[in-house]
């Protein structure tokens, strides 16, 4: 299996309250295409930082982050935004849906950045909502949906442009067990049936179990004990 994500000698520091915090230190990591990888570790271990680097939301201080052979650090702000629009879908713990938009409009939002015509955008958005089982709720606003439904809408938004990579930051963190299982089942289907590469941060051991590989981070260093 070929590698989709490569992190080589990646370091990242933040300044908090005048103090330098080393979040990632010379990290090397390779993630295969079409794999489902869970990242676990205590708070502050650098899990979300890795997601942000891989998703092109942040840049490393040192080292190389490449996705599908493209060194993200070499892209300008505009190019990076364009790359995100086409190649990565985000799923957040707190869903991050636009509260003033309907489920359909939230899902269709990334499609405005594609050359698709209005009719095609509608077809894609409706299909994405169908995949997550919420086509009948497309005219509802986030406030009218349950937490699980909101997260499924967020997943539909993440896949609507058909990106190869989905990064999920504690996607079940705000959900009860039943809804969490539904979301994990959906992510598993996306990985197995649609071939999406999924990189998921989680504190939930049950969530990590559905992944094909689990990475453990501690103080910016990696201790890969994952299977497969």
């Amino acid at each position: 299996m070929t590698s989709l994500i490569e992190l080589q000698g990646v370091s990242k520091e933040y300044t908090r309250g005048g103090e330098q915090l080393v979040v990632l230190d010379q990290l090397n990591l390779s993630i295969d295409e079409k794999s489902f990888v869970a990242m676990m570790g205590p708070s502050g271990s650098g899990k979300t930082t890795i997601l942000n680097l891989v998703g092109g939301l942040d840049k490393p201080d040192k080292g190389v982050v490449s996705v599908d052979g493209l060194n993200l650090a070499q892209l300008g702000t505009g190019e990076l935004a364009k790359w995100r629009a086409l190649h990565v879908g985000f799923v957040f713990q707190s869903f991050n849906l636009m509260p003033v938009l309907t489920a359909y409009e939230n899902v269709a939002l990334p499609l405005l950045l594609t050359p698709l015509a209005r009719k095609k955008r509608r077809e894609h958005a409706e299909y994405a909502l169908e995949v997550v089982g919420l086509k009948d709720r497309m005219d509802h606003r986030p406030g009218q949906l349950s937490g699980g439904q909101e997260q499924r809408v967020a997943i539909a938004r993440a896949i609507v442009t058909d990106p190869a990579l989905i990064v999920a930051d504690e996607p079940t963190g705000d959900l009860d067990r039943e809804n969490a299982d539904e979301v994990l089942d959906l992510l598993t289907r996306l990985n197995q049936e649609l071939g999406k590469t999924i990189l998921m941060v989680t504190h939930d051991p049950a969530a990590a179990k559905v992944a094909s590989r689990t990475l453990h981070l501690d103080k910016g260093a990696l201790a890969d004990r994952g299977a497969a």
Partner: protein, 399 residues
């Protein structure tokens, strides 16, 4: 390829509809006030600009409240370059009760309307024309108590030709305390917007001959002087003032435009006063709209993070907040402009005596539109830039 989700503008404004409504309302009120106040200023200025270039006004050098002897008229008429001279006396009375105050002037019945032919058109009834105008002049000359009134004034009090109108004096009181009676012989319509539509003109000799036995000859407030075409008004002015430099009353002669400007300045520096009020209100509204948009921008930082995560550039928030602010200010400005245009009709009637040529000029409306758009741009760019400068990760962390 669309790069801006414009529908977010409509949704966000609708979501905060009460705030949007207040912003639109405050800007509409400010623009309305700006249009009305600026129109007062431009109307005052046009009164001065419309003044006749061939007419000069002679008054006492002391002040408008000091009168001049009647025999000055013949001396002024003899000054080279002078074509015609008329007395022009403020009467200061009212019809029935003090609230019915309007301008009344005692003038020379033989010459006055010829001198002011370019300012007003005489009418017997409601049809104007050379024949009826001549008939009105004839009637005015024939009746010592004759009066010609503005058509709007006649309409207001339902006066008709042949009516006798009692006017209660505040300056020229008769010893027996009786009212002055005037016979309406015709009406006038202004030919220029700066001419008052609510004035009564009556014969100076009626005033003088009535009071002379009791109080002696009536002095003259001002003399209105038409100069010969092509003759330099400045020369006429200096010659008239030179003639009376040794009294008994020295004079101050000025062009009609300068006289109007002096008259306007007697009311205080209205342009400065109104300009200051209008400017202060607009600046207050500018701050208010900017503050509103900053609040909107602060609330939208998280949205900016979401949009950036989805692949939008940070500048999308500048465009969205700019569009929001512009939409609010276009609505508010448009409403204010529309209201001022509607209100101008009523304001013209209210200000008829004070400012007969009150009108909202197109350039005032244009300035109101430009200022509204300017406020929108200023209110949109700053908050938009603030929301866009966040890194995506920092924006997503914000609550």
């Amino acid at each position: 390829m669309s790069r801006t989700p414009w529908f977010l503008v409509r949704r966000n404004l609708g979501e905060h509809w009460f705030r949007s409504l207040l912003t639109v309302g405050s800007l509409a009120a400010a623009v309305f006030l700006f249009c009305m106040l600026r129109s007062v200023i431009t109307s005052l200025e046009s009164t001065v600009e419309e003044a006749s270039a061939d007419r000069v006004i002679v008054q006492s050098s002391v002040s408008l409240f000091v009168s001049l002897p009647q025999d000055y008229q013949a001396k002024i008429a003899a000054v080279p370059g002078v074509e015609e001279v008329s007395k022009f006396n403020w009467f200061g009375g009212y019809f029935r009760e003090p609230k019915n105050m309007f301008a009344q002037f005692a003038i020379d019945h033989v010459i006055f309307f010829k001198m002011y032919d370019s300012d007003m058109e005489l009418m017997a009834g409601h049809d104007a024309g050379p024949e009826t105008a001549a008939a009105v002049i004839q009637a005015f000359k024939a009746d010592r108590r004759a009066a010609i009134v503005g058509a709007d004034l006649a309409k207001e009090f339902d006066w008709k030709v042949g009516d006798t109108v009692p006017i209660i004096p505040t300056i020229y009181r008769k010893q027996d305390g009786s009212e002055w009676e005037f016979n309406i012989v015709g009406f006038y319509q202004p030919k220029r917007s700066s001419v008052d539509r609510r004035t009564m003109f009556f014969r100076f000799d009626y005033l003088d001959e009535t009071l002379r036995p009791e109080q002696g000859p009536v002095d003259v407030g001002t003399f209105s002087v038409n100069t010969q075409p092509g003759y330099p008004a400045s020369q006429v002015i200096s010659d008239i003032d030179a003639l009376f430099v040794n009294g008994p009353q020295s004079t101050k002669t000025s062009t009609e435009a300068a006289f109007q400007a002096t008259f306007v300045s007697m009311m205080g520096n209205l342009p400065f006063f109104f300009g200051t009020i209008g400017g202060a209100v607009l600046i207050a509204v500018l701050f208010s709209v900017i503050n509103t948009m900053y609040i909107a921008g602060r609330q939208r930082v998280h949205d900016a993070g979401i949009l950036q995560a989805l692949g939008y550039r940070g500048t999308v928030m500048v465009r969205l907040l700019l569009a929001e602010a512009l939409l609010l200010t276009i609505l508010g400005g448009g409403l204010g402009i529309g209201l001022s245009v509607l209100a101008a009709v009523g304001a013209k009637a209210v200000l008829a005596s004070f400012l007969p040529n009150f009108v909202i000029m197109p350039d005032t409306l244009m300035w109101a539109a430009v200022i509204s758009l300017g406020i929108g741009v200023l209110a949109g760019i700053g908050p938009g830039w603030m929301a866009s400068r966040y890194e995506p990760t920092a924006a997503l962390r914000s609550s």
